[in-house]
């Protein structure tokens, strides 16, 4: 009797958690597969209407199409660009003591914490002056301001776990710095690089505020397109297509959540916990 009561409580808890956290996600997918009259009826089960996804992938109605490719290009390039600068920096930080390293750390931290709202105005002015406004490289450069600080300290926390003696032994054996990195060091911190890449990718894929200001027509990522289309209040919002785009933006997170759950605490706290 006791066992059944306990099982019942557990079932109730599980069902309520699923209802609370997964139902909204399900509903977005459901709306994305529903036709317009079906959405307006407020049905919870989709009527297997593929039009929204087809429109979204082709970019009708200003959402999707080139936006999807832009989003993918931006987030993947951000990972490559930020990693190429963060791995050397993190190595230096984990191996040497710097003068005023607390101040350096604070400076990096402030860049991660700066509200995007404070940066959009200078970026708009600077990017226009430099001629990289509304280009993909412009967006990729701008995102470094959040990505590099996180990546450097996350990687440094992984690198600090690798003893200095390995470096010394490798250098005595005649490895060059580059050879040591390629043959020994990078394979050792592979998990750290994977976690850091995931976090850089996640920030760049999710960011919308800066993208909506420093792009206009040629290089708008999916998120920024979504905001524009949801802002057209007078025209009546196309919830179907918007949901299809929203569903696409949340899909990678849903797929990776099981893998990422063990690293989330580390990633959100700059490798401190």
């Amino acid at each position: 009797m006791k066992l059944t009561a306990k099982t019942l409580v557990r079932c109730v808890i599980l069902i309520s958690v699923i209802l609370m956290f997964l139902f909204p996600v399900y509903y977005m997918f459901s709306v994305s597969f529903s036709s317009k009259p079906h959405i307006e009826e407020g049905a919870l089960v989709p009527d297997s209407f593929l039009g929204n996804w087809i429109d979204m992938i082709n970019g009708y109605g200003g959402i999707g199409g080139p936006g999807i490719t832009n989003s993918i290009i931006i987030s993947v390039s951000c990972v490559l660009v930020s990693l190429s600068m963060s791995i050397p920096a993190a190595y230096a930080i984990s191996r040497y003591r710097f003068m005023a390293d607390k101040h350096l750390f604070f400076w990096f931290l402030t860049n991660r914490m700066t509200p995007a709202a404070c940066l959009v105005l200078p970026y708009l002015i600077m990017w226009r002056a430099l001629g990289i406004w509304d280009t993909l490289p412009g967006v990729i450069i701008a995102y470094n301001v959040f990505n590099i600080p996180v990546a450097v300290w996350l990687l440094a926390s992984f690198m600090a776990a690798i003893p200095k003696e390995i470096d010394e032994a490798a250098f005595i054996d005649g490895y060059s710095l580059w050879g040591y990195f390629r043959r020994i060091f990078l394979p050792l911190i592979k998990p750290g690089i994977a976690v850091t890449s995931f976090f850089i990718w996640m920030y760049s894929w999710s960011e919308m505020f800066m993208a909506s200001v420093i792009t206009s027509v040629n290089s708008k990522p999916l998120n920024a397109q979504l905001v524009v289309s949801l802002g057209r209040v007078g025209w009546g919002v196309e919830y179907g297509i918007a949901s299809a785009a929203g569903a696409l933006t949340i899909l990678p997170g849903l797929i990776l959540v099981y893998w990422a759950r063990g690293y989330l605490a580390k990633g959100f706290t700059f490798g401190r916990i």
Binding site: L22, Y91, F106, I125, I148, G231, A265, R272
Partner: protein, 279 residues
């Protein structure tokens, strides 16, 4: 000298983090007058700090940040303590509750807008029960929705960070306290709480700073509406400096906002580096 490997990262952060700051300062002390920028010193700051719209949005943002923290902290802590024991069910639940933390904030806003619109599930439920719930016309309903949305989005962050802290603690004092007959509350208050103090303070400051920056979700949900009743500072800055192109006051507002966030950042730094190095 592999010490200099740090230089590329520093140069890039200077280019994208430091120069924009100087650009902001440059524009904040000038005001356009007949196609020319005229130096006005602190004039723009004075204008911003006496602007009722800015003061309202600032008060709203600070109150919002502290409110969500007060809601999320006990909830997240409770989840972490409940999910402490390992098991299939607990792993499943903790995986499910972190889903929102991985989704783009803008999609969270869209998700909730779908739920609360009149034909959405919550909108329908409200109609059935006759609650008169209308976030698109009533300011307090919109505010409540934003609070619930933020709790839904970020409570799990506190849970996972606290769980990581709990997982790293030594369990022997808990066991001996249990044999001595300590109550659950005593164990929590005197053994577990001191052990998770660092992660708890850390994640609270992190949440506070991120809550001050709220933009995407509110923009999509009601665009700061109805009217200006839910306009937070970042929405105000976007409207002023980008849409109305009031560069001087926009830059001054940005700097004031940045200053507040940086003060909290400094508190976070003190917590992070207390008793240990920067790595």
């Amino acid at each position: 000298m592999s010490k200099y490997l740090i230089l590329p990262a520093i140069l890039v952060i200077m280019a994208v983090g430091l120069i924009p700051l100087f650009v902001l300062i440059n524009y904040a002390v000038q005001t356009p007058y007949a196609h020319e920028n005229v130096f006005v010193g602190f004039g723009n700051f004075q204008k911003v700090l006496t602007d009722q719209r800015f003061l309202d949005s600032l008060r709203r943002t600070v109150v919002f940040a502290f409110t969500v923290l007060c809601l999320e902290l006990p909830l997240g802590l409770g989840f972490a303590l409940l999910l402490y024991e390992k098991g299939k069910l607990n792993t499943l639940i903790s995986t499910i509750i972190i889903v929102p933390a991985l989704l783009p904030p803008i999609s969270i806003g869209l998700l909730w807008r779908l739920l609360i619109k009149t034909a959405g599930p919550i909108g329908q439920l409200a109609t059935v029960f006759g609650l008169g719930y209308d976030p698109f016309r009533t300011a307090s309903h919109a505010y409540a929705t934003i609070l619930v949305m933020d709790v839904w989005h970020w409570t799990s962050l506190i849970t996972i960070v606290v769980s990581a802290g709990l997982a790293g603690m030594d369990r022997t004092p808990v066991l001996s306290a249990k044999t001595e007959g300590a109550t659950r509350w005593q164990i929590f208050r005197h053994i577990e709480l001191p052990a998770i103090q660092f992660p708890l303070v850390f994640v609270s400051l992190l949440r506070l700073i991120d809550a001050l920056k709220i933009y995407d979700e509110v923009l999509v949900l009601t665009a700061g509406g109805p009217g200006l009743t839910n306009e937070y500072v970042s929405l105000l800055i976007k409207t002023k400096s980008i849409e109305e192109w009031l560069v001087g006051t926009g830059a001054a507002t940005s700097l004031i906002y940045l200053f507040i966030v940086l003060m909290l950042c400094y508190a976070l730094l003190i917590v992070m580096t207390r008793g240990r190095g920067v790595i």
